[in-house]
C-alpha cells in the first residue's frame, strides 16, 4: 500500500479541485476519469491508501466499479469513500451493498474531506 490517494471523478473541475486541496496538504494524488480507468490504474500500480469515488460517471459508473472491486480479493481491502451529489438515501443504499467505508456528499466541505483522508492515509 502506498500513501497515494486515487480520485475517480469524471468532472475535470471537481477532480482538479480535490487534487489541489489534497496536494496543498502534502498528499500524493492519482486521477481516473471513470471506473474503468480506476480499475486499469489499480492493475498497474500498488494499492492506494484511499479511493475517493464519484458515482455518476460515463463508461463505468461508481456503482459498477464497487461491484467489480467487491469480487476481486486483491482490491476488496482498499478503503473507498464515495463522493457524490446524489441524495443521501441513494448514496447510503449504494454504500450498504458495497465495501465502501464512508460517504462525502457534494458540495464537499474541506474539513470533513481532510478528516476522512487523515483516517486512512
Amino acid at each position: 500500500m502506498t500513501d497515494r490517494i486515487l480520485i475517480v471523478e469524471d468532472e475535470p473541475a471537481v477532480r482538479h479541485s480535490l487534487r489541489d486541496v489534497l496536494e496543498d496538504e502534502g498528499y500524493l494524488v492519482a486521477e481516473a476519469a471513470n471506473g474503468q480507468e480506476a480499475l486499469d490504474y489499480l492493475k498497474s500500480h500498488d494499492a492506494p491508501c484511499l479511493i475517493l469515488l464519484d458515482l455518476m460517471m460515463p463508461v463505468m459508473s461508481g456503482a459498477e466499479f464497487l461491484a467489480a472491486v467487491k469480487h476481486d480479493p486483491a482490491l476488496r481491502e482498499v478503503s473507498i469513500v464515495i463522493v457524490s451529489a446524489a441524495s443521501r438515501e441513494r448514496v447510503e443504499a449504494v454504500k450498504s451493498s458495497s465495501s465502501a467505508v464512508g460517504v462525502l456528499l457534494k458540495p464537499v466541505q474541506l474539513t470533513p474531506l481532510l478528516e476522512a483522508v487523515a483516517e486512512y492515509c
Binding site: D20, P58, A85, K106
Partner: protein, 498 residues
C-alpha cells in the same frame, strides 16, 4: 249472375267487412313480413295511417328488445311450420306507447303450396290486466327507457351468473347480439389478458352473494379496447335470497389516461428536480473547495500570502461561478422557451467567424480531454443572426460532442448548400441508436442513463427550440458506436432571407 262475378262480389264484401272492423286490427303481410293491407281497426290500434305503414316490416310494432332477440322472424317461422300461431305480448303504437296484444297469425298458401304471405289479427287485451299488473308493465317500460339511456353499459344476470339481459348501449358499444351474449357469452368481448381474473372475481362474488367490482378493458365493435369500471349488486327477494344481479360498466378510459399523463408529468418533474439538484451541486464542490482552501491558506500564511497560489485558486473559483451561472441561465431559458417568451436580437455577423471564436474559447477544454477540435469554414457566411442564441446552439452541440466523444477528435464545419447555411458538429463517440434519435430532442430526455452521463437532459431541447425560433432545422445522423453528426440548417442570410 255467373259464378265468377259472385265470387268477386263475395270477395269485395269480405274486404269491406274487414276494412270496417274497428276493434280488430286485420292485415296481410307478404311472405317476409311486409305490411300489405291495413284496416280501420289496425289504424285505431297502432295509430298509423295506411300510407304510413304499407310496405314497412311488421317488426315495427315490436318492442326493441324483442326485435333484438329476433322474435318477429321467429314467429313467422313458427307460423310456416304449424300453419297458425297465437301469441300475447307487448306491441308499440306509433306514439311509442305500449299495449298488450293478442295476436293470431295464419300462413296463406297458394293452391300449389307456395307461401303467399300471412294474415294477422290483433286485438288490444290490455284491459284484461289488473291495475297492479299494468303498473308493473309501465314500471318495466320506464326501467328499460332508463337503462337504455344511461351512459353506462348495463346488464342482468341470474344467480348462476348467466347474463340474460343487456341494455342498448352494451349492444351499441360491443356490436354484438343477445344470442352471442347469452349466459357467459360476454367473455368474447373481454381482453384475453384480463379474462381469467375477471371470471375468477365474478365467480367468487356469485358464490358469496357480495357486490362485485373490477376494472378491465372491453372490446368495442371497431376492435379497439376501452377501460370500464364494472360493478354488480345482488338483488334480493323478500326472503333475502339473491334473485338476480344487476351490473353496470362505466367507461373510465379518459380518467385513466388523464391520471397516467399526470403521473408521468409528476415523474418527469421529480426526475428533473433530482438531476437539477445534482447538476447544480457539482460545480459547487470545486467552488467551495477553492474558497475554503483559500481561507485555510490565509489562516496558515498570516500576512505573507503566496500571491500566485491565491490567484490560481481565485481564477478557478471564478470559473466555477461562471459555470453555475450558465446552468442557471439554461434553466431560465427552459421556462422562457416553455412560455414562448424568447426574444431574438438580430445583428449582422459572419457565422464562420462566430464558429471560429467559439472553437478558440473551448479549445483548451477539448485538448485537455484528448479531443482535438478542427474547424472547417472556407466561405464567409454573412447574414442577420442572434449572436448569443446561435452561440448557445453551437456551444450546446460542442458540449455534447465532448461529453459523448471524449478522447476522440471532433470536427465543426460551416458551409453553404442550396440556399442554406449548414453548421455540423461531428464526434466519434458512443453514437445514438435510431430509435432514440427523435426522442433526444425532447425536454428532459437523453439517450443514455443519467447514472453514466450527467446533465439536465435539456441541451438538445433548448437547441431545437432556439433553432426553430430562428427559422432553422436541427437534425442528427448517427449509428451506435460510430459517433454522431448534428447539423443545424438556416436559410442563407439569416433573418434577411426570411
Amino acid at each position: 249472375m255467373d259464378r265468377k262475378a259472385e265470387t268477386k262480389d263475395a270477395a269485395d264484401s269480405l274486404r269491406l267487412l274487414m276494412e270496417s272492423v274497428k276493434d280488430y286490427a286485420i292485415y296481410l303481410l307478404d311472405s317476409i313480413g311486409h305490411v300489405m293491407t291495413w284496416n280501420m281497426g289496425a289504424e285505431r290500434l297502432y295509430g298509423y295511417k295506411g300510407d304510413e305503414i304499407l310496405g314497412k316490416h311488421f317488426s315495427t310494432f315490436y318492442p326493441e328488445e324483442k326485435v333484438r332477440e329476433g322474435w318477429p322472424d321467429q314467429e313467422l317461422r313458427l307460423v310456416v311450420r304449424d300453419g297458425r300461431f297465437e301469441d300475447e305480448g307487448w306491441r308499440i303504437r306509433k306514439d311509442g306507447s305500449r299495449f298488450l296484444a293478442n295476436v293470431v297469425i295464419t300462413a296463406l298458401f297458394d293452391r300449389d303450396g307456395t307461401l303467399r304471405g300471412f294474415g294477422k289479427v290483433t286485438r288490444d287485451v290490455t284491459e284484461r290486466f289488473t291495475s297492479a299488473e299494468r303498473a308493473l308493465v309501465e314500471s318495466e317500460a320506464r326501467f328499460r327507457a332508463l337503462a337504455d339511456n344511461i351512459a353506462q353499459l348495463a346488464w342482468m344476470a341470474d344467480t348462476t351468473g348467466n347474463l340474460f339481459w343487456y341494455n342498448k348501449r352494451w349492444f351499441d358499444y360491443t356490436g354484438t347480439t343477445l344470442d352471442e351474449m347469452q349466459g357467459w357469452g360476454w367473455k368474447r368481448v373481454q381482453h384475453p389478458e384480463h379474462l381469467e381474473r375477471v371470471v375468477g372475481k365474478w365467480t367468487r362474488a356469485l358464490a358469496d352473494g357480495r357486490p362485485w367490482e373490477d376494472t378491465f378493458p372491453l372490446r368495442a365493435k371497431e376492435g379497439t379496447y376501452r377501460w370500464f369500471l364494472s360493478r354488480a349488486v345482488p338483488i334480493h327477494d323478500e326472503a333475502g335470497k339473491v334473485k338476480l344481479w344487476f351490473g353496470t360498466n362505466t367507461d373510465v378510459t379518459d380518467e385513466l389516461e388523464t391520471q397516467e399523463t399526470l403521473r408521468r408529468a409528476v415523474h418527469a418533474r421529480d426526475v428533473f428536480l433530482s438531476i437539477a439538484s445534482h447538476e447544480l451541486r457539482t460545480p459547487l464542490t470545486p467552488l467551495s473547495l477553492q474558497i475554503q482552501s483559500l481561507l485555510r491558506l490565509a489562516e496558515r500564511s498570516g500576512s505573507d500570502l503566496p500571491t500566485v497560489k491565491v490567484k490560481d485558486k481565485l481564477v478557478k473559483a471564478t470559473q466555477q461561478a461562471a459555470h453555475l451561472e450558465r446552468l442557471v441561465a439554461n434553466l431560465l431559458d427552459v421556462s422562457r422557451l416553455g412560455e414562448n417568451r424568447l426574444r431574438l436580437e438580430y445583428e449582422e455577423l459572419d457565422v464562420a467567424t462566430l464558429v471560429r471564436e467559439i472553437a478558440e474559447r473551448v479549445r483548451p477544454e477539448f485538448e485537455a480531454a484528448g479531443s482535438p477540435l478542427t474547424v472547417v469554414a472556407r466561405d464567409e457566411v454573412k447574414g442577420s443572426w442572434d449572436r448569443l442564441r446561435l452561440d448557445q446552439v453551437i456551444s450546446n452541440l460542442l458540449g455534447n460532442a465532448l461529453k459523448y466523444g471524449r478522447g476522440k477528435p471532433i470536427e465543426v464545419e460551416v458551409r453553404r448548400l442550396d440556399g442554406e447555411v449548414l453548421v455540423s458538429v461531428r464526434d466519434h463517440g458512443i453514437g445514438i441508436a435510431a430509435e432514440d434519435q427523435e426522442r433526444i430532442f425532447g425536454r428532459f430526455e437523453r439517450a443514455v442513463s443519467p447514472e453514466s452521463y450527467g446533465g439536465f437532459g435539456l441541451g438538445l431541447w433548448i437547441a431545437r427550440q432556439l433553432v426553430d425560433a430562428m427559422g432553422g432545422k436541427i437534425s442528427v445522423q448517427s449509428k451506435p458506436g460510430q459517433g454522431a453528426t448534428f447539423t443545424v440548417a438556416f436559410p442563407d442570410g439569416g433573418r434577411r432571407a426570411a
